[in-house]
Symmetry: C2
Subunit: 152 residues, 2 copies
DNA sequence: TGTGAAACTGACATCGC
DNA sequence: GCGATGTCAGTTTCACA
């Protein structure tokens, strides 16, 4: 973690919300010239603080209206179980995040699917590739907040 | 949900990964002229399938290395409890997502914080504004997969 | 850091396919 | 629909003061 000054913070806050803003507009918001902004952004990209610029899509309009969390418990202490699990989840489309959580062996998967049938397809795909003893799925009924902006 | 053809899917797949690519480079990847790509992107923005372009930041390098899931159960059937809850979570920085889940009244919060002390600050902020009977927190030890790209 | 000028890219319009 | 071409404004990029 590097040190970031106030102006960089301001720039990052803007870029998190909309990365398609002209340098001059950003400069106006943070009180810097277009060029100063450009240099700072370049530096932030070089240090890896800015990872990428991505288009955020509407999952619902693309037919992926169902979000599901899968909570996985395993009693396997097999050293390469996690490797298999990681590789499987990495390659299955629709799986967005996989986390190893606190509490011994406990994994959380966040995935987007079209519907229940699609979820079952994903589930079958997963258990075909990894031995899973305990899987519980919870479905998202409503997204009350969805704001990827980190507080700076 | 509108119908999307194969070329639009290809364009969206590219844009999900990197939205800072010149139109010509995208055209090369999908087999279209810069102009055709431009027309399609405009249409995808107009229909709202492309929501925004955002810079993705490295949370760890910004001192927000701890991700936490808070699972909330409430027995309150108060009609405006959810309103209070929604408003509170909406305004507390660090809270990225709030979901209402299947299973009667069950909410899931995903948040990024600096450390345990910071989590406690967020927790205190939340319970000060909303009556919560049951809150369980799970912390992310390892991000095994983090890929926001939707399968198209 | 700011300024300026060059190079590039985006944002269209037009035409023919 | 698409591609090719052209034009123009806006933007990025990089010299240098």
């Amino acid at each position: 973690m590097e040190t970031i000054d106030t102006l960089d913070r301001k720039i990052l806050t803007v870029l998190q919300r909309s990365a398609d803003m002209p340098l001059e507009a950003i400069g106006d918001q943070v009180g810097l010239s277009r060029n100063a902004v450009w240099r700072r952004i370049k530096a932030l990209e070089a240090t890896g603080i800015i990872r990428a610029r991505r288009a955020e899509l509407d999952a619902g309009k693309l037919g992926l209206g169902l979000m599901v969390f899968m909570q996985i418990r395993t009693h396997s202490h097999d050293p390469d179980w996690q490797g298999t699990f990681a590789k499987a989840t990495q390659t299955i489309p629709g799986i967005l995040n996989v986390y190893r959580m606190t509490g011994d062996l406990d994994y959380l998967i966040r995935a987007r699917v079209a519907d229940m049938a699609d979820y079952d397809r994903l589930y079958q795909q997963l258990i075909k590739r990894v031995p899973l003893s305990d899987v519980a799925a919870s479905f998202v009924m409503e997204e009350i907040k969805d704001d990827p902006v980190l507080p700076l």
